[in-house]
Amino acid sequence: MKHILFKLCIIGGLLVTGVGFSQNALQDELMLKSGESFPNNSWRSKFKDNPDDPDYLATKTYGEPSGNYGVYLPASGTSPYSKSMTSIYGGAGCIYRNSPSGFYDLQLQLPDGHEIHGFRYYFYDSSAASSTAYLYTVDNSGIFSSELTIVSTGDTGYGSVYAGLPTTTLVDNYNYTYSIRFYSGETGGNQEICGVRLFMDSTP
């Protein structure tokens, strides 16, 4: 009897510990050891690329000097651009708004002369509101320009949308700074901002 109770205690302890681990995504990720991952995390599997989108086939592999390539940037690396805007980590690089308003900027460092074809916006959208990702530039005289805007679509969960820039845009780091700006239209986890993948060309 005592032996059975002991086993039950161990199982109970494991269950409690498991609940503790899953209290939030940040704690879960911090517990991972090198090489470990969450194989059942639905984050990536739900972000299905459309094979017809131009960024679906990247032609560059590591070590090749030319071709198209992607720059994948998670939203958790953003900076809220005022003290009144805060966010909560949602796991796998996603964040969601925790303040009455929510704008978050992500620094872009891209090679001079490369072309930005467009970018794919990754999000979680399960409400009537939406979130938005902007690619914006500011020139040396202080002129702000929204080069490309992508709004989350659907209300059923994870998704991604690709859009191309309307004009040929070569990276010019002397005259412009480049950033991604995220906006969430709603406070809470129904609108998560997960990241962007820029579609680039090293030899335009």
């Binding site: 939406s130 002397y174 700074t177």
Partner: protein
């Protein structure tokens, strides 16, 4: 339905903005957020006419020299231990009260030669200043300033651009960062620019007076 509302909103904003009429109560943030794609907005929230749009020239000779540039927006930099930072439009950061600082880790290849450091911003004060430092830290706890720039205590008309030439080669044991400092709400810092020569070129050219020609 939601998509239709978004499109309608964008069209509405587009009509409003392209018509040149922006209500006085709109702040710069909402103007930027609602600007239709491809439309440029100046600091007053006015639309910049299309003929000034310059990012469409695919023949522009960017990258024509061996000097490359690393440019960053202040709004996207990380604020250090302060809860009094604000956004002032066009990627610029300001303080709502007192002093703030912002950092960015600089991700350039070892062996690169940094040749310039430039600070961009607005200074409306005759007593306060905005400053930026390019620095490196090492694995012994050292913090060394490579270059610094300040708007000075004289107010500067329009947008200022201050900086200096630098002669510093990035080393394996050094972590490079840029730190911006704002001492008063009347100062806005908008970003910085680093000029550098990539390591394959830096190893193979002769620098005259510390500058590649």
């Amino acid at each position: 339905m939601k998509h239709s509302i978004n499109i309608a909103s964008l069209i509405a904003c587009g009509v409003m903005l392209t018509g040149g009429h922006v209500t006085a109560s709109d702040d710069i943030l909402s103007k930027e957020a609602n600007a239709p794609q491809g439309v440029k907005v100046n600091r007053a929230g006015n639309i910049v006419q299309a003929h000034t749009k310059t990012m469409i020239d695919e023949n522009r000779p960017v990258g024509g020299t061996s000097i490359r540039y690393y440019s960053s927006t202040a709004a996207a930099m990380q604020t250090l231990s302060h809860s009094n930072f604000d956004y002032s439009g066009a990627g610029c950061a300001s303080s709502s009260s007192g002093f703030i600082s912002k950092d960015e880790a600089i991700d350039l290849p070892d062996g690169s030669k940094i040749v310039s450091f430039t600070l961009l911003g607005y200074d409306f004060s005759t007593t306060e200043s905005g400053s930026g430092s390019l620095a490196w830290v090492d694995n012994t706890g050292g913090f060394t300033t490579i270059a610094s720039a300040s708007s000075g205590i004289v107010n500067q008309p329009g947008r200022f651009s201050v900086g200096d030439f630098v002669d510093h080669t990035l080393d394996y044991d050094q972590g490079t960062l840029v730190r911006l400092g704002i001492t008063d709400p009347v100062i806005e810092l908008c970003g910085f620019r680093i000029g550098y020569v990539p390591p394959d070129v830096a190893d193979d050219v002769i620098f005259v007076n510390n500058f590649y020609r």
